[in-house]
Symmetry: C2
Subunit: 325 residues, 2 copies
């Protein structure tokens, strides 16, 4: 792994609040050294992880930011009390979010945009794609890349790719200002639709993305859990079918133990072409040795296809809202 | 749903221990009305469910048995502190454990055996298969069917099928005593390999099952999580490859939020024939209206195939231990 990131400004560690064993309702750090993830989007359930050491606790302009070392999942990034990434399982999400749209394209991607994704993990996956000439990222919270560079070198390595331009800005405005038809792929790696990311689930943002995509281009957006959020997914799918009229709208999911219910899905839409996104058309990308990025760990052409196969209950709920299911 | 089960003897409710809000380390019922599942097989992590009401707490000859009503997942069955089934997501596990082996068979099954599975959920799924003439179940703990009949009518409905014979006995001995080649399918719906179920993961039991199967018959055994138990799965797969020499050994998995890591896998082995279990050969079964069993909610021929597609890391680890991957 590259060590280039260690030069990043080490964010301030609040010694008092950070001590595990200190009751801290705001960050759900339990008295006995456990972090419990409770959230309004998964009432009545919560995953707990044993905390070895709290490494960072801060308040950015937008959210609470916490990093701790866990017993079982390595280093953990938490925003507003919600687990965003852990060393041990983040690759599942990042690989599937990046390679499903990139590999579904008919022609190799040249220009990609990431909205959110400030931890750098999706960038790391994009870095594997040699066809890409430009990789833009619009992250609203400048503290997230800094924290990632300091504590998650394995994800933040994505920032080291010279094709990457980091923009700390409002993602919606960035997309609205982009030239029409200028991106092959837009990936929305956002937190949940409560708090700063709420607007990233609404129609004006999807219309802006549709405009910024080239015909035949693909968006891939974080789209919650089939087990927990069927209503959100269903209305998101219907909205996408309106915005991507004449195109295609599909839903895929991946397994990831530290997200609520152990899985997370993605809405995958193609502009102006009824492309079957369940079919990979580009080869799975390899390692990027210069950046210290190893071989793929989750994605394969077969898992690409399998990710779109919905359990019967989800098929029944979503079949009318999706174009390919 | 049939109401036939309500006549079952209501197990004793220990009022004192059952009160939510009572500290009870043994059952991990937390002070503030949450149940937290901690276990030696998933150190450093634990799922918590908010408890509405503890319905039953007892000690059988083999294990602690607890039933509570949760806020988010309906009624929950807990054995020795480990969640076995919840109203909301049990169908995923039960359907996949039953229909994968039954539908992979070349000829429709006539005789099936369930080892464990005392909650009746796998029986409910077997009841959908009209070809079955006899369904045997060998459950070691007589309290589990009683508790299920009292609190989980939606699972225990499986016991109402007249083709079912319930044997409260040691599953290993039952399989050893079975006539050679007498079963089309054996399903092992066991708890984890710590405590009473440990022997169900060992070679003598698999040899006994191999003997009891007809040539071309299939076993399907609970086989833990790809995210948590790769070592167990790998050695189980290798052992199966030895026992089922000349046959086939595959691994499938399903998503289920209340099992550790949000998924559970199954080892699927065929006797004496290199049958590709990834391919369904029998139609997916329908509802059983007489018993009040509705249509399938998880299983479909497509999800059957997708369940065998391993993420790259799991493929790399298991490809040499499985015959079809």
């Amino acid at each position: 792994m590259s060590d280039n990131n260690t030069s990043a400004k080490k964010p301030r560690l609040d010694e008092e609040a950070a001590k595990p064993g200190t009751a801290d309702e705001g960050m759900n750090i339990a008295k006995h050294g456990w972090f419990t993830e409770l959230g309004s989007m998964w009432p009545g359930q919560g995953l707990s992880l044993k905390v070895k050491e709290v490494l960072y606790k801060g308040k950015s302009k937008f959210q609470d930011v916490c990093v701790f070392e866990s017993d079982a999942y390595g280093t953990v990034l938490v925003l507003d009390g919600v687990i965003q990434a852990t060393d041990r399982d983040e690759f599942s999400y990042q690989e599937m979010m990046a390679h499903i749209p990139l590999c579904a394209l008919e022609a190799p991607a040249k220009r990609a945009l990431v909205v959110g994704g400030g931890d750098g993990g999706v960038l790391r996956e994009l870095a594997r794609h040699t066809s890409l000439e430009e990789i833009h990222i619009a992250e609203i919270d400048g503290d997230v890349p800094e924290v990632s560079k300091a504590y998650f070198p394995g994800m933040a390595v994505g920032f080291n790719d010279p094709r990457v331009t980091l923009n700390i800005c409002d993602g919606i405005k960035f997309v609205q200002d982009a030239a029409e038809g200028s991106y092959d792929v837009i990936i929305v790696d956002s937190s949940d639709p409560v708090g700063p990311a709420e607007v990233l689930y609404q129609q004006p943002f999807f219309e802006a993305m549709h405009r910024a995509l080239r015909p035949g281009g693909i968006i891939c957006t974080q789209a919650e859990s089939l087990w927990l959020h069927m209503d959100i997914i269903k209305s998101l799918a219907s909205m996408c079918k309106t915005v991507f009229a004449g195109g295609s709208v599909s839903y895929a999911y991946t397994t990831i133990p530290t997200y609520p219910s152990g899985q997370i899905g993605m809405m995958v839409c193609c502009k102006g072409q009824q492309l079957d996104m369940r079919q990979p058309r580009q080869s799975a990308p390899g390692a990027h040795e210069q950046l210290g990025i190893g071989p793929l760990r989750y994605y394969s052409p077969d898992i690409h296809k399998a990710a779109f196969v919905l359990p019967q209950y989800a098929y029944d709920e979503l079949k009318d809202s999706l174009t390919h299911v």
